[in-house]
């Protein structure tokens, strides 16, 4: 799946919900070659209607809408659609980002953003959604950044040499690969790896990530696979 992205067909509609016409224009202009059409809504109410009526492939949602709280809108959208939601936020609160991701948003971009970055995030989300809907689960063998990860045989090899992973590290890697490109909050990672059981292990999440990076990354302080979203969580990137 790491190299199928280029030829994917353009989706029909991307929906942008933002009350600022200027921002809508910037988003629309930057996404002309990503979707066939960019649909616009200026309020939360219009946006939810449009999301239901036009069945967009992806929704870009501004948090500072005048009529509703962004978190609520996000939950509302999630109640009837599973398409990727990318949130635009001007507030730099990490806690808010974490709450949004937990509420079902797939990614967020902080204002002011560069259009290059926005486009990359949108592409990544579309690719993920496409893979998900076509039932194209990951191959049992994932090749990335000089690593050969065998999900069935549970082995990782770098240049033919096996890299030993502990069970926790394996579980983390499995969850990451299953959610490739998606920012996972600390809470989501806890739940995915340790279930709902509260335990001593959870406080060490960041330590286990660190150990996994030291085994997988070429340069653990300049990670390319497991990216840090400061104070929010981690994102695994198989690359374009």
């Amino acid at each position: 799946m790491a190299n199928t992205s280029r030829e994917q067909p353009l989706p029909d509609v991307i929906l942008i919900i933002d009350d600022e016409p200027q921002i809508r224009r910037v988003v629309r202009n930057s996404l002309v070659d990503v979707a066939k059409r960019v649909s616009e809504a200026g309020s939360a109410a219009d946006g939810i209607d449009a999301a239901a009526a036009e069945q967009p492939a992806l929704i870009i949602l501004d948090l500072g809408l005048p009529d509703r709280d962004g978190l609520e809108v996000c939950r509302d959208l999630r109640s009837f659609t599973s398409v990727p939601i990318i949130v635009l936020s001007a507030r730099h609160s990490d806690r808010e980002k974490e709450r949004l991701l937990d509420a079902g948003a797939d990614d967020y971009v902080t204002k002011p953003f560069s259009t290059v970055e926005l486009k990359a995030r949108v592409r990544a989300q579309l690719r993920r959604a496409m893979a998900r809907s076509s039932g194209d689960r990951h191959d049992s063998i994932v090749v990335v950044d000089g690593l050969v990860i065998d999900l069935v045989g549970r082995t990782v090899k770098r240049a033919g040499v096996e890299v030993h992973l502990t069970p926790t590290e394996w579980n983390l890697l499995r969850v990451f690969i299953a959610h490739d490109g998606q920012t996972l909050t600390h809470a989501q990672l806890f739940t995915a790896v340790w279930g709902s059981a509260a335990g001593d292990a959870q406080q060490y999440l960041r330590v286990y990530i660190g150990q996994l990076r030291r085994k997988l990354e070429v340069d653990p302080v300049r990670p390319r696979l497991i990216r840090t979203e400061p104070a929010v969580g981690y994102r695994f990137e198989l690359g374009e």
Binding site: H92, R95, P167, Y204, R206, G210, P220, V221, A231
Partner: protein, 523 residues
Amino acid sequence: MRRPLVQWVIWFSVLALVGALMLMVRGRLDKAHVALAFLLIVLGGSSAGGRALGISLAGVAFFGFDWFFLPPYSTLVINNPLDWLVLIAFLVTGIVAAQLLESQRQEAEIARQRADEIDQLATLGAETLNAPRAVDALDAIANVIRQAMGTDRCEIFMRNAGASLRLAGRSPGIPRQEDHTGLLMYTVEHAEAAAERNDGTLTLIGDAFSATRAHFPMPLPLTDLRALGIPLNVRERIVGALRLSSPQSFSLSNDQRRVLSALSYYAALGAERVRLAEAEEEAESLRRADRLKDALLATVSHDLRTPLTAIKGIAHEVLHGGDRDRALIIEEEVDRLNHLVGDLLELSQLNAGSLRMTMALNTADDVVGAALERVEAAHGTGRVQVLIANDGSILVGQFDFAHTMRTLTNLLENALKYSPPGLPVMVRAWREGDRLRFAVEDMGAGVPQADEARIFEPFFRGSGIPDGVRGTGLGLSIARQLAEAQGGRLTYTPREGGGSRFLLELLAGAPPSEPDEIDGLES
């Protein structure tokens, strides 16, 4: 004092013994000797065993005197009428003496209780005044009250602006899970003390705690209590409430009740002190915010308007056929503005004390990596060298990730900006004792000695800054405040061999003791 029954046995034995001894030498004794000997025993009994014992001794001695020592012997008949006088005088003297001794004793007892009460109040006063923090004083007061009342727990609640209550001080010990706030709300609502009985019923008991209560000339009995709630008043205003409770039922005597009334006034004063301290803190943070606002206005007018002017000018040129380079300048200026806005926001949050801290176990790898990602995205790769101590286990600390990342980012950006482009910048991390240390070093000109003391002040711009280097003057100030907000330190020293060295110290952490079953799956 020994148990009363023992006293009775002792003193009646003494009476019998002395009677028997005197009986053996009856012929050689005068009536006066007998009367005096018996009187001594009555006095002794009264002082040791109380009034009842004294009077009983006097009564028995009266009959013994008559029976054994007044002729005709072994009858209650008395020949000489004058002997009646002796006998009656003996009885009356004995009884009066017993009474006098008793009232003396009671006065001494009251005086002792008063001394105890004064002692408790003095202790409270000392505890209240000596505690450096208002909240500690409240804990101390709660503890003294608990000891004086002999209950299991004593808690002091403060009344919030919205009339809700919050726990502000409590006696030491394990907090109990059951919640009795219902009792307290009831107490505060009615502005009267209330008792919670063992069957769960709540009863208002008036201000039985103040001496002047006309409605309850007979104070309600305070027995069989599970908890007692008392409103705390300062100048006719309810500032909070106090709760006494025990897992077993408890009772308060009238004396204890009176003491409690005095002690709870101290609790009220303590609660008021906490409130004033909080108000003072709030005022201080407002004053700080105010000072910052002034500095901010000055910055806004200059540092924000300059790039805006540039953007406006260049946008105008672009409109009339500008080129790519000009558009690039716009982007740079916008980045600069964005940076400044971010700094200003952060600084105002720091000053308002509203910054969220999420202290967690984090790795040095992770936080250095995140800072590096930001710095290298803006300044390009290749200059920063990373040296993280590696003794096999991963280097961890107990800190807030986002704030530490920000601190390191600011330090790295500074180092890159203020040292020549060709020279490297080093970031190291290692553990020293219970501290996790990060050092960011550059090989630039360093900080002029005259500026060293001031570089951490907001809006301070050094004197020897090279041309073309622009900054907000906020980076180091924010970095230090963020470090200190998580209990760390940020200091500057000149680097050996030239340049700057910033040292960030945070609390170190311990990695998991069981490093996950190593190689548990491969076999």
